[in-house]
Symmetry: C2
Subunit: 449 residues, 2 copies
Amino acid sequence: MNTGKLVVIGGDAAGMSAASKVRREHPDREIVVFERGRHTSYAACGMPYFIAGQVESSDRLIARRPEVFREKQNIDVRTLHEVLQIDTEQRRVQVRELEQDATFWEDWDHLLIATGASPIVPDLPNIDADGIFSLSTLQSGIEVFEYVENRSPKKAVIVGGGYIGIEMAEALLERGLEVALIDMAPEVMVSMDADVAESISQAMRDAGVRVFLREKLERFETDANGTLRAVVTDRQTLEADLVILGIGVRPNAELAEAAGIDLGANGAIKVNKRLETSVPRIWAAGDCAESFHLVKERQVFIALGTVANKHGLVAGINISGGTMEFPGVLGTAITRFQDLEISRTGLSASEAEEIGIPFRARTVDALTRSHYFPGTAKVKVKLLAEEATGRLLGGQIVGGTGAAKRIDTIAAAITAGLTAEQLVYMDLSYAPPFSPVWDPVQTAARTLL
Amino acid sequence: MNTGKLVVIGGDAAGMSAASKVRREHPDREIVVFERGRHTSYAACGMPYFIAGQVESSDRLIARRPEVFREKQNIDVRTLHEVLQIDTEQRRVQVRELEQDATFWEDWDHLLIATGASPIVPDLPNIDADGIFSLSTLQSGIEVFEYVENRSPKKAVIVGGGYIGIEMAEALLERGLEVALIDMAPEVMVSMDADVAESISQAMRDAGVRVFLREKLERFETDANGTLRAVVTDRQTLEADLVILGIGVRPNAELAEAAGIDLGANGAIKVNKRLETSVPRIWAAGDCAESFHLVKERQVFIALGTVANKHGLVAGINISGGTMEFPGVLGTAITRFQDLEISRTGLSASEAEEIGIPFRARTVDALTRSHYFPGTAKVKVKLLAEEATGRLLGGQIVGGTGAAKRIDTIAAAITAGLTAEQLVYMDLSYAPPFSPVWDPVQTAARTLL
C-alpha cells in the first residue's frame, strides 16, 4: 500500500474530508494542505443566512479551523498558500506563500486537487464597481455582510434566480432592502420546470421582490466615485446600491489543465469513479471535478457541498489504498424562500427532453399534513417516469413547512431504479401532523400510473 | 371480466378505497357497502388531535360522508347496518339494520371484508366503569371529547405507551389534565428499541407526565355510582377520573372465521398478495387482513391507515378484473409527543433477534439542521443492517422538528434492498435550514460501515 506524502490543493469540504479520511487510515502519513484563502472547511451554503442576520457570527460557519486540523489531526494545513503549478513529471507543486510572497516547490507522492468552483462573473462595463458581489468563499460572504452593515444599502438587484439568488432575496428582504431580481430565463430556478417554479417567483413577488424574467443584464452605472448606482438591462434601468451575482459557477480547473490533466464535463476535471484523474497518483474531488449522473448516465459538472463531502470521502479511501467508487449524483438540491420550501432531484422535463428519454410527467397539488391538521400547507409535487418502464426519472417539490425534504424519498427511489408504481405502494410514514394518508409523493406517483 | 355485484363489509379506509376504485373502473356495477357505525371514511388517526382541541370539529375528520358516496359515486353505502354472517355457499350476507332492528339477506357476486380492528380491552374488574375509554371508531373519539368537555376530569391514566398512549398524553396535557402513563414493558413504544425510546419517555416526564414502566394494570376502583375513581397496578393505586386504554388492537375476523375463511397471522384474515381470502370471490383488506412483511418475509398483522388505503386500492383493482399484488409492509410509522418527532420502519433490534437475522445496529446523535442554523435540534437515528450483506433492515428516529419524516428515506432504501453503504453515498438534499451536509440517516449509515 502506498503511504507516501499526500498534498491537497484546497482546504474546503472535499480537500479536508479526504485529508481527514487519509489521516484516520494512516496515522503517520505526511499530509500537507495548501489553501489560498484564510479559512478551511466552512459552510458556504450558510452565507445567505449569515448575511440575513440569522447566524450570529461568520465564525459559526466554520466547521473546523486550520489550527484544529494541525493540532488534533496532525494535518499540515497552510492557509494563504496558493498553488501556482503542478509538475506531474517530478511530482511536485509550486506554491506561493501569499503573506510573504515567497515561492517554493513541494513534493508529493499523491496529489489531490480540490480547488472548488468560482462564480461566473460576466465581462460587462463597470463589473468591478463598489457594491457588486458574488458569493464564493467565506471571505466574500463576510464582505457582503460588512457592506450591508456599514453602507446600509437600500436597493438591491440580484442577477440570477437560482439558489443563491433566491436565498439572497430572502436575506436582503430580511435586512430591510428593496429587492429586485432579474433572470434571462422564462422562470426562476432553471433546474426546475416552469410549471413548478412559477410558485417560487409568485411567492417572491408576494413578499415584495420585483421579479423580472426574460430580461438580460447589460451593464452597470456608477457615480463619479465608481460607486454602483444602477443596473441596466435590455429593458430598463434599475436603481441599485447593491448587486448580487448568482449566475452560476465554473470549475477551478486551470491548474489541472495547465499540467496536462484531462478535462471533462463543462470543463471540470475528468475523473473515473475512484476520482482518479488522467494522470496516475493525481486525484480530483469536489466542485472542480466531474461526477457521474445516475439518470443521465454521463459525466456532469455539479457543484454542491454534499457531493464535495462524498467525493472527499471516496478520494480519501482510495488514496489510503482502499477501493471505493463514487456511485454518482442525481442533482438533488433543496432551498427555501421564506416559508416556501423548494427541492428537486433527477431529471427535470427539459433535461429529459434534452437527453431524449421518452417520459411521462405529472404535477399534483396536495397538502403537507392531513387536511384538518393545523399548519397544513399546500405542496406541489412533480414526478417524471420513463414512458416505457415506469422507472422514476426525477422529482420537484415546492410547498409549505415540511414539504421539501420529501425529495429524499424520491432520490432514494430513483437511486434504486424503482418505478412510479413501486413508489405508490411503498410503506411511507403517515400521521396527521406529518402527512396525508397518501404522502404527496405517492399522490403524484398515482397520477403517473 | 366479472362485473357482478360487489358487497363491502365496512365503510372506512380499506372498504371505501376499494369501492371507489371499483366504481372508477366499472361505472355501472352494483356496489353496496354495509357499515355498522354512523360514519364512513374517517381519520381515526386524527382523534387525539381532535380531543386535544387542535381540530375544531369531529366533522373535519370525515374524509367523505355516506351521502357523498351515494350521490357522487353511486355507491350504495348503508350505515348502521351490521353484517351478522357470511354465507359462502349461496354468496350472500345476513345484515341487521340497527335502527329498525330488521334482518335481511343480501346477495353478492364478490365480497370484500374490510371490518377493521378493535382495541384490546382486558377482562379486569370494573372495566366497564364510566370514564374508561379506548379509541377505535370516530364515535369513540367523540365520546372521549365529550367526557373531557362535560365532566372536566382532572386526573388521567393512560394504559399503554404506544402511539395512542403517546398521542393521548399530549392531548390530555393540552386539555389541562394531570397525566400518568403505565406500561408493562421496560420502555414506551415497544415497536422501537429501548435505547431510542428512552428519549420519548424522558420527554414525557419533562412535560409532566408520570411514566410508570414495568408496571401491570390489575383493576379499576369505582365509587358507589360505578364511576371510575382509581387505577390499581401491581405496584400502586393511581387516582383517576379518566382512563385511556391503548394496549393494542386485534383484527375483526370473527365473521370471516365463522364462515370458514382461513385466518393467518395473529388471527387476521389470511390473504394472498392480491388480497384474496381462502374462499374464491371473497377478498379482505385493511386492518382485518394480514400483510406480507418485506423484511420478515412472512405474513404479519399490522393495523395502520396507510396500509388500509393501499389494501383498498389493490383489492379494488383486482375486484375490477385487474391484476395487482400488494408488495408488502415495513411497519413504517410516525408520531410525535409535543415537539419530539418519532418514527420507525423495518425491523427493530428485538425483532431482528427474534427472527434470527444476524445484524449490526448503530445509534447516532446528530442535528436536524446545520449546527449554526436557528432551530436546529437533536435527532437520534438508529439503523440496522444485515451483518453478512450490509443490506438495511430497519431504522428508528427520535428528534426535533423535521426529524422524523426522514424515516421515508430509510423505508425507500429498505424497500429497494439497498445497503448501508449505498445510503451513505445517496444524493440526498442538503441546505442549512433542512439538514447538515451529511443527513442524519447517512451519518448513522456511515457508522455501520
